[in-house]
Amino acid sequence: MPVFAPTERAVREMLRYTDRDRHETIAVVPPKNGVATTENIAINAVMAGCRPEYLPVIIAAVEAMVDPEYSLYGRQTTTHPGAHLLIVHGPIRKELDANCKDNVFGQGWRANATMGRALRLILINLGGNKPGVTDMATHGHPGKYSYCMGEDEEGSPWPPFHVDRGLAADTSAITVLCAEPPHNVNDLVSKTPQMYLGSAASTMATLGGNGLFRSALRGEQGLVISSECAHWLADFGWSKEMMRSYIYENARQPLRELRDRGAWGKSPLPKFIDATDDNALVPIVNKPENILILVAGGHQRHMNALLAAGYSMSVTRALTTKDGTPVRSVRDFLARCCMYGEGGVA
């Protein structure tokens, strides 16, 4: 893949969009334990082709990925194909033109293409990620080049995802979720939410997925639905909470289908499953809250399942100044930069 030269001028321009000291350690990135300073992050972001104003997103994403809940060491080195999906929330999506509608996982948007790429370069250059050497993914997936989406908050009848996570709607934020490639669910004709979401549940409870075999562990599974389908469900009176509960109850397989296949026996079953009952229905997560619902995409009735390996939880972080004040706009950083000098250095 081509990279942009991280010239001093380009890096300096990028550092205008943070109030962190350029030498401040933002994170230590496993498995190599390379130090991600503000400057190192900016260098990788330049190399990836990011615009300078994308930097606050990349910094927040790096901080999120090294949160212990995310288990980055394991995600960097596993044979599972999971890639780090960067989800952008709040006003900054529009400001950076992060795509959240048509072809949301596809090509065509610089912000999506380069912000995800910047994370990958940081994992390679600072974290020592190298296929077949430290990254033992059996197949990997194309999202390991870049994997980034915005949520279609304006198109959603429900509160946005970052509000579910306790942040204010007008706060800009990011979430990282280590996920397999989006698995399409095409349901053109179902007339009820139960049938429609039943198609999603069936896809999410595929016998080859990790969820069924790891549902006693920490883990989440995601579903992305389009604005028009979200409104269609809302017109039936459905909330995201109802969707989570429905998928939790229906994305299951009977124990007899799991026995002696997949990752059977590698992890315990959930305590509420009677291991002697072949008809016991095993879920893909251990509680409804661990089904993640996101609204994004273009028209029609497609959905996309974001299946995950387990052993890792998504992490959401508000974009903040270094004193922890949430920011709405990248211009907030420019104002601080002028106040304190480049990169927040007085």
């Binding site: 498995p31 334990n33 080195t77 020592g128 077949g132 033992m136």
Partner: protein
């Protein structure tokens, strides 16, 4: 690595397909002395007799890792 770091003798099994990976991670974590026992690949979904044979071959290495290294 955590247990070894606490002074508890360990032997880490890897198949030969993951040998250089394991040693690379040990190097990155400054744990080059971590005892690694290499077993022929693959081991997943193999007949029990095949597994027994593979384990017998590395039994001496396993003992050495746990006893000599302690």
């Amino acid at each position: 690595m955590t247990m070894e770091g606490r002074g508890i003798p360990t032997a880490t099994f890897v198949t030969h397909a993951f040998d250089s990976y394991a040693r690379g991670l040990c190097h990155m974590q400054a744990m080059e002395s971590l005892p690694i026992v290499v077993i022929p690949h693959p081991i997943a979904a193999r007949p029990v007799d095949d597994l027994r044979q593979k384990v017998r071959k590395v039994h001496a290495d396993l003992r050495a890792a746990l006893i000599n290294h302690a």
